[in-house]
Symmetry: C2
Subunit: 469 residues, 2 copies
């Protein structure tokens, strides 16, 4: 009989549906030899998306620096197609020079300085165009992290000083936020983007959520915005962002802007919170990642956190930046392969360069393909009784509403049955939170088209059968 | 005027000396063009240690799988020395087959199954020899993590349920433990290995620390053992380990066994806690890492946590394993390059294989060199007035006692002056904790010999001057 321990109640209470019972069941089915399509998570390479040649050639050479010399020396013996481009070799020499100690050494805890400088330069290029209120990014306020999640968790942990401290999150939300708030003993304060209006935000909706929380004695510290949305895929319009910033400013809140899907807008305009913030003195924590976009390098765990208007810490002489630095120091540094990918994400090949055309071709192919697959799935929804899907296509997800589930059935039941019947693994809407009385699911639009062509008709049949039961 | 926030007091109170003011000063000096030798941290590659060819050739090919095909096709055009060994190419094909989705996809949150199986097989090979009480490791109770720190933090966070819960740690200790205990609102309960007896442990010393804590109302949940020691370098003898296990069993405690330096014993026998535990029903959390040993792959952040006798969770139907899985799920998975290195760490090339001789040569050279450098530094201590260094050489550190610091001077002052005077960056003993009235420093014995030959005489001169002041 093993001994029994009381453990931290906040850790115990935390939930994380994206890797919860449905994906767990899917894994079991796969081990039993069943065909499973993992659409429960935005994991592009797992569904056949290829890594970008540029990224991997660089990473590969940096892992084995002796090869750079070798590639130069064997060049003349090889056919043109087998040669490593000079531009890649030169870049690797340059990067190894800047890194000084290669991929095997701990870096500064914030990440290598030249990478943080490149991140700042990327933000500046992105946000300075036609922007009179432009404020440049500061490399010393950039933290290169193991994916974006790590940065979010550090900030949430710090902000939650008391058990009545709250953080506002959109519903539905990516469950990292609810999990981190729960784990660190804070209060989750929900606000509800308007689904029927394409998941837009308004000042009134934010004030209403804030007012209710205040009435319950909650001290709201921060608002999280996810743009483009996860799980909704919705791209926030200018007014929604202006509303969030004005709201945060009025109440002295910090903003966490989760912008990891900023390249996944499929033609819609992406406006960063940093850009829209301009010179206003609102603390802003912006997140980006190598896992999404057209990169899909989830396994490498790269990303960054950029801080603007870092708050002072009450009762002492430190700023948020100092304490964040202490936080990241205990983990020593984020992994170096992820740091390099973060560098490459913010430093695409220059136009007219030897490798530019291939890079653009690969990028465009991936993004066009994602868009087309999302459209295919949306088309299928039209053939499913009582399924509605709002908003433009963004991120890597669709979040349809299931209006006609049979009495007593939940979206969890539906998704579990869908998995068992068709092998399609999605996540129930309740895993992300949803307006009371509604039911949804989230599907990542990542499987190859031929896989979708096979499964969508079976899903339609399953669905129309399920809702008639 | 930026706004001011109250933040989490536990995060605020946490300290982490290894990356504290002295290394910070060192970094400033380096930016100003001064020569600095970073011995404040076990970061071998930063001080010129080369990565193992085997590790990096594999990692390099996995990052760019197209190269595996290419290497085979260009083989015939190359000189023998330029060819990639068949064994490496075959291994990479095999690994990519097992990984299914390459390095770019999220893996199972615990880490790839075949890697966890390889970890379990490694533990079994290590611990089963001449061991009638051998209990095999279970791959489902192995978690592949971003370095060893991550695993330790998860376990500590879970164990600390109440503010009076305590964890016993050796003094001196690696400050990850004090930081994690402080951050998660628990009580640090110190026990004091016997410095003059080579940092050995005894049942009495553990009982004494436990008794005092209990008298203060602390509920001790766990004892941390670091073997070989950090910062002391001491290798625990059989009796010390037996004492810790007997003590934990008697009081119903869990054990965290930090064994990241298990390859750094330089001839002394390493006995794992898992081996010594045998069939006894004591919860054991063992840690290992790719950052140390002869690998030194710190930047890649690879490692594992192995759990034995996972406790049940009080008041519910879950075990510690279930909740740990939930914890790691929120971070999705550890980075894949670190996972691959963890696999390679536990899967060295087979004897008589094409690449075995080179691997062994590189390994032996690194370990012999480390040992020789430690001996050089220990010799230098003999020429420093009032410096004593106890215990056999282990890990990557020496932790000499400074018996003759001038009145009013602390080891912090000493280390700061040493840095400013000689460029040698060490960490003051107080950063790790030490018996009252003693002063120490920790030095990583990693710099190249010629660097040591240059700095040691300057250190001796500095020291003898400092203690006479």
């Amino acid at each position: 009989m093993p001994i029994s321990f009381k453990i931290d109640e906040d850790v115990m209470a935390m939930e994380y549906a994206v890797r919860g019972p449905i994906p767990h069941k899917a894994l079991q089915m796969k081990r039993q030899g069943r065909d499973v399509i993992f659409c429960n998570i935005g994991n592009p390479h797992a569904l056949g998306q290829k890594p970008l040649t540029y990224y991997r050639q660089v990473l590969s050479l940096l892992e084995d620096p002796f090869r750079i010399v070798r590639e130069r020396s064997i060049m003349s013996k090889l056919d043109a197609a087998d040669r490593m481009p000079y531009q890649i070799l030169d870049l690797c020499d340059e990067l190894l020079g800047k890194m000084e100690t290669g991929l095997g050494a701990y870096t500064e805890s914030k990440g290598l300085l030249f990478i943080r400088e490149a991140v700042a330069a990327y933000i500046d290029r992105r946000d300075s165009v036609a922007n009179p209120d432009f404020v440049p990014a500061d490399p010393d306020r950039v933290f290169v992290t193991n994916g974006a999640s790590e940065g979010a968790k550090y900030v949430i942990e710090m902000l939650l000083a008391d058990r009545q401290d709250g953080i506002m999150i959109p519903i539905p939300q990516y469950p990292l936020y609810s999990a981190a708030i729960r784990k660190h003993g804070g209060v989750q304060v929900n606000y509800y983007p308007d689904e029927d209006a394409g998941w837009t935000l308004s000042r009134e909706m934010l004030e209403s959520a804030y007012g209710s929380a205040q009435a319950d004695g909650v001290c709201v510290k921060c608002i999280v915005a996810i743009n483009p949305g996860n799980p909704t895929g919705a791209v926030l319009d200018r007014q929604s962002i202006v509303d969030v910033i004005g709201f945060a400013e009025a109440h002295g809140l910090a903003i966490i802007a989760d912008e990891v899907y900023q390249e996944n807008t499929y033609g819609a305009e992406f406006l960063s919170f940093a850009r829209m913030l301009g010179k206003r003195d609102v603390p802003l924590f912006s997140l980006h990642s190598v896992s999404k976009g057209f990169h899909g390098e989830c396994g490498h765990r790269g990303g960054y956190l950029e801080v603007r208007n870092a708050p002072r810490i009450e009762g002492c002489d430190s700023s948020f930046i100092d304490v964040l630095l202490k936080q990241v120091s205990v983990s020593l540094c984020s992994n170096t392969a992820g740091q390099v990918l973060t560098y490459l994400l913010v430093s695409p090949p220059e136009e007219e360069s030897e490798i530019y055309d291939q890079f653009i071709l690969e990028k465009t192919t991936i993004l066009d393909d994602l868009h087309a697959k999302a459209a295919m799935i949306k088309e299928a929804f039209k053939k499913m009784d009582g399924v509605e899907c709002f908003g433009e296509i963004g991120a890597m997800y669709l979040f349809p509403r299931l209006n006609k589930l049979p009495e007593g059935s939940t979206d969890f039941d539906y998704c579990m049955a869908l998995l068992e019947e068709t092998g399609l693994c999605t996540v129930n809407g309740s895993g992300f939170g949803q307006s009371e009385g509604t039911q949804h699911l989230r599907i990542a639009f990542l499987p190859p088209r031929e896989m979708l062509e096979d499964v969508l008709p079976r899903w339609i049949a399953f669905h129309n059968d399920y809702v008639c039961a």
